[in-house]
Symmetry: C2
Subunit: 361 residues, 2 copies
Amino acid sequence: MVGAGQLARMTYQAAIALGVELRVLATDAGDAAVRAGAPHAVGSAASLADLRAFAARADVLTFDHERVPPEHLAALEAEGVRLAPGAAPKLLAQDKLVARRRLRELGFPVPPFALASTRWEVEEFGAEHGWPLIAKAPRGGYDGQGVQELPAPCRPAAPLLLEPRLELERELAVLVARAPGGESVAYPVAETVQHEAMCREIVVPAPIPDALAAEATGLATAVTEAIGATGVVAVELFVTRDGLLVNELALRPHNSGHYTIEGCVTSQFEQHLRAVLDLPLGSAALVARAVATVNVVGPADGSDPAERLAAALAVPGAHVHLYGKAPRPGRKLGHVTVCGDDPEPTRAAARTAAALLEGRA
Amino acid sequence: MVGAGQLARMTYQAAIALGVELRVLATDAGDAAVRAGAPHAVGSAASLADLRAFAARADVLTFDHERVPPEHLAALEAEGVRLAPGAAPKLLAQDKLVARRRLRELGFPVPPFALASTRWEVEEFGAEHGWPLIAKAPRGGYDGQGVQELPAPCRPAAPLLLEPRLELERELAVLVARAPGGESVAYPVAETVQHEAMCREIVVPAPIPDALAAEATGLATAVTEAIGATGVVAVELFVTRDGLLVNELALRPHNSGHYTIEGCVTSQFEQHLRAVLDLPLGSAALVARAVATVNVVGPADGSDPAERLAAALAVPGAHVHLYGKAPRPGRKLGHVTVCGDDPEPTRAAARTAAALLEGRA
């Protein structure tokens, strides 16, 4: 697995149970997965030489992030390295513009968009869709980085992906795992709740009508199939007045799927390994009627949520996951999942435990 | 944690999620927990010097087995090392004779027993209880090692703990976790099914009347409290025509509790860490109506169950745990847990997956 953050850490936990040998490519021996004991090489995901050396010892290469340069992936694939997902589907998680164009071409609903390199192009898009606009760097952004609001026409410093500021009823995420042979399994539809452009809460099942849930599941499954992904795919969807739109894809385990560790028969991390290794996929069924996950983010005072572990564990049913990362304000340092019978108390318990860890309660 | 077998390995998995730093004392860098990435020292659990050096870097010392010489534990405790459990309660899991005497003294029901050093003492016990007798080495035995049937009087080579061959209706196991302050949490009553003196299947909840389950829970909780244990205690009980008898104690996570990983809100491994570190205990409630665990044992042909992982994962709902141990006939190499609604299909699925791993299906 290229990358050694919390996604690799949790994938490593799943690998231990299966007895699967997972190695990670870390930028630093202090990375979250390395601190969990994952065998590792230190190197750069941006270096073809490092990737090549790392791949030489692996049966198959997979990823905990989207930051490997697409040209390196294409080069590795051409050299015969097995990638899961492959370079072509992975590109749709790496380049928002490529994804929008490809998904539109495939007939999937996406938000209106344009690439703007000049002031005139920004002005034209704004005239059509209204101000402010949302402008995104096509590559490299996550958790709201690389996203800005344009209140008025301006000259882009670099080409920008423009979209209208949509009126969203909700944001949803559907995980789909797809095996190399095409078999796929869809997880329940989750609602993701963002604060300051970072996903903070995941509520499952999403409180939406069954017909909409079925549509979201069908859409996510069709997208995963159409792009030929291998492994777990997170399909982020916007619910608008006019229906569902595909926002972004992640071709890897995803923050919106952390609830699956305790909430589903097969966690997204085990499922990703099973798909990548062409082992039979597991059931994605929920094991509780309601599941909620709340992220734990480094508080402004720089303190470490680990110091408040005891308080959080006193919350009945709180499953605490800490990633072993150095605390920094705003950094994702862990999450809490609670499974229950009723959505509201379940979500409240997860919020309380997360707030206690962040020193807010 | 002194010891680095599969119990330490699974405790280490729980430690990753909590962000707790668990180090293990391994006999060998190939031990199961070390292969899972646990930080470790190599040393002997029988060496006071090794234990002392290991303890010097720890806040508290706990155990994945019962084999640390009791006198070493007493010495460490006298030197101020925090042990969880302490040396005195731990002795009851290390010495079957001490345990029987102490439990009888405390008023708990135990099988009839005697210590025999001479042929005459064996003969006398047999005359009272009938032949054959069961003879156990007071120390060091597990999984049936150190246990023999005596069909007729003989002169013991070393002092033996004698007991009648009891007519057992069932064997039960109840896990209880106890915090240093005395708070305790009892898990559901499990039925353990032995083959050739090794626990092979765990069925939860045990198919027994509620009143008997309540009695078993009360007995296990009272024993744990009376001996002042810290951490997880497995209380093994015999169900006889005359009622419940306390057979053996394990003062550590136990094979009979592997079902708790997927089957309960808090796994025995996380619970043990919580108790040992004086963190609040978690709920021990079941998350499914029926849970079954079947051990995976090295087949006679010496082959590795890991080679048959794909077949086992094709069994719906099978949670496969492989311990990363070198295969050897008769060695515990993993287990499979299935959660379901009905006991029989749940148990059948776990059996099927385990049989597939062992190459028997």
